[in-house]
């Protein structure tokens, strides 16, 4: 079965290395003034790091499609919460009537 796949130590160490490098980059990038871009960059790096952990350390890469679906659905649901919630906060004041 596919989930019995045993990756090499080398692969684990290289993922670890990549995570260290990305951590360094995120610290460095935060020190650079990029205006509105700072947060997206930080998030993009964090998402990349998270994805590396999920795919390799947690072995989703070798897992069943169902597990992949479950892993992605958690992410999608949290986005639903954010999107529908911010839908309120970002449109407040559009009408020009206080509290509407």
């Amino acid at each position: 079965m596919s989930s019995h796949h045993v990756p090499s130590i080398r692969m684990y160490v290289s993922v670890f290395g990549a995570l260290l490098i990305l951590t360094a980059i995120t610290v460095f990038a935060a020190g650079v003034e990029m205006g509105a871009l700072n947060t997206p960059v930080a998030l993009a790096i964090a998402v990349t790091k998270g994805t590396l952990v999920v795919l390799f350390f947690m072995g989703v890469r070798w897992n069943t499609p169902l597990t992949k679906t479950v892993a992605i659905s958690g992410f999608i649901w949290i986005l639903i919460l954010f999107a529908m919630g911010m839908n309120d906060y970002l449109t407040r004041g559009w009408l020009g009537v206080a509290g509407r």
């Binding site: 839908n87 309120d88 449109t91 407040r92 509290g99």
Partner: protein, 542 residues
């Protein structure tokens, strides 16, 4: 005959005996019974609170209970009924008992976690009862900040922790069900052969695992505001109380579907059985459950049209709310069509089905009034809302729960109850319910706000009607409790398949053995194959 040999085996109720064997059981059926006993106790407690509320509202002056006591009673009525009765009602009892059997499994995927969920429930329940002893809590079941976090001086923190803990019992049930449906189906039990009750419970479980954690953290934030002086919703330090409502309703609106979806599943089983016919539009009914569960997550803002939420957010929430009405309508039409050209059996299950359909219809349709933005301005937080959600959750949810309980009682206990009494009770509940809650629609449109301890005198007549109905309702519920308890002691032995129903659960002995099946069943037919269904067995009396 093979069946005679089967009856020799001791059932799950008999082997082994003793209190410890129940309290440490890993058998999903016994855990279902433990849940059934607990939720019955809480239904009685919540019902007592309801009776106090209705008694208070007979007169406009508010002279029976003090305002403080009234506020605590309606809060506890809501907390107990929602978190300790309605949410676990069908999933943790009928679902726990029958879902594994229906898919041909020996147990849920994680039996120990199933037991753990019951203990967590009991722990949460114990905390909540402690709150009652210590003088109660008065925030309403909604725990709205900042009233709950900075103004109320009742036991909010403890109640919040109680609800937080109970949430985990619900999460564990949901996650157990999902894994079970995915991984434990018997050979040949494909997704489209699953009984609709399983589909409904699966959809419910999705809501449980995706929604419950959000309300858990929200309630925890309120508790932290009170206990640790953190401030997240506190307007004095710049917090936004409306954020609480967003987070709260992200769960609590889908929670309504936790309460009604399993009921729809039960009714799907029962409609097919009383009609002795394949369910009309199986895949539409199945997918409408999933659609309700998923779309149900996108509509929470319709609780907040007048709370200072942006009008544009309101628009989005309103249109999706209108969309979610469609799958519910589809289900209702499919049930109706199932009865067409059936061979309707006038046994007691029919009465519950008809009762459910009537009440759910009104409950669902009145939701349209509230989802329409311009109209919700007037109706928001009035008795119209109270009537609407009682029609859905009590009219729909409890009627389906009771119907399911009657339908499956012979299988669960191995005993038959008195059919005539069951028919009388179902009608008492139906008419009592309508008398209680229909006047509240009128009260609501006239403008009577909810959670009012006293009210202007012109609302009195309708309130008295409502209280009268509540008494009939109370008699109906008590009657059910009495004859079901009586049936356990003196009821005739139930045959294997008293309703002549299809499904794996009706092919095993009543009550089932501990591991459900002697051999792993192999499924070769679709659900609801009533053309080849056996006739009801009525010779069970001894």
């Amino acid at each position: 005959m093979k069946e005679a040999a089967v009856q020799q085996e001791p059932s799950y109720l008999e082997a082994p005996y003793g209190l410890a064997s129940w309290l440490l059981t890993k058998d999903h059926k016994r855990i279902a019974i433990l849940y059934l006993i607990s939720i019955t106790i809480f239904f009685a407690i919540g019902g007592t609170f309801a009776a106090m509320l209705r008694a208070e509202l007979v007169t406009p002056q508010g002279d029976l209970l003090t305002a403080d006591l009234y506020n605590k009673v309606f809060t506890l009525h809501g907390v107990v009924m929602i978190f300790f009765f309605l949410i676990p009602s069908i999933p943790a009892t009928l679902g726990n008992f029958f879902m594994p059997i229906m898919i041909g499994a020996k147990d849920l995927a994680f039996p120990r976690i199933n037991l753990l969920s019951w203990y967590i429930y009991v722990l949460g329940a114990a905390l909540t009862l402690t709150v009652v002893m210590l003088g109660g809590v008065d925030t309403g079941w909604t725990f709205y900040a900042p009233y709950s976090s900075i103004a109320s001086n009742t036991n909010v923190t403890l109640a919040a922790v109680g609800v937080f803990i109970t949430g985990f019992s619900s999460i564990l049930t949901g996650f157990n069900f999902i894994v079970t449906v995915h991984r434990m189906r018997a050979p040949g039990m494909t997704w489209f052969r699953l009984p609709l009750f399983v589909w409904a419970n699966y959809a419910t479980s999705l809501v449980m695992i995706l929604g419950t954690p959000v309300v858990a953290i929200t309630i925890l934030m309120v508790a932290a505001e009170r206990a640790l002086h953190l401030g997240i919703f506190d307007p004095r330090i710049g917090g936004d109380p409306v954020l609480f409502q967003h987070l709260f309703w992200f769960y609590s609106h889908p929670a309504v579907y936790i309460m009604i979806l399993p009921g729809m599943g039960v009714i799907s089983e029962m409609v097919a059985n009383v009609s002795r016919k394949q369910i009309f539009g199986y895949s539409f009914v199945a997918f409408s459950s999933l659609a309700i569960a998923v779309i149900g997550f996108l509509v929470w803002g319709h609780h907040m049209f007048v709370t200072g939420q942006s009008i544009y957010a309101g628009l989005v929430f309103s249109i999706i709310t209108m969309l979610v009405a469609v799958p519910s309508a589809v289900k209702t039409f499919n049930w109706t069509a199932t009865m067409y050209k059936g061979s309707i059996s006038w046994d007691s299950p029919l009465f519950w089905v008809l009762g459910f359909m009537g009440l759910f219809l009104i409950g669902g349709l009145t939701g349209l009034f509230l989802g329409t933005m311009g109209l919700d301005v007037h109706l928001h937080d009035t008795y119209f809302v109270v009537a609407h959600f009682h029609y859905i959750m009590v009219g729909g949810g409890v009627m389906a729960f009771l119907g399911g309980l009657h339908f499956y009682w012979p299988k669960m206990t191995g005993r038959m109850y008195n059919e005539t009494l069951a028919k009388i009770a179902s009608m008492l509940v139906f008419f009592g319910f309508n008398l209680t809650f229909f006047p509240q629609f009128i009260l609501g449109y006239m403008g009577m706000p909810r959670r009012y301890h006293g009210y202007p005198p012109e609302f009195q007549v309708l309130n008295v009607m409502s209280t009268g109905g509540a008494m009939v309702l109370g008699v109906g519920y008590t009657l059910i409790l009495l004859y079901l308890l009586y049936s356990i002691i003196k009821g005739p032995k139930a045959p294997m398949n008293p309703w002549g129903a299809t499904g794996l659960e009706w092919k095993i002995q009543s009550p089932p053995i501990t591991h459900n099946f002697h051999e792993t069943p192999v499924v070769t037919e679709d659900a609801y194959d009533y053309i080849h269904a056996p006739a009801p067995q009525r010779g069970g009396e001894e």
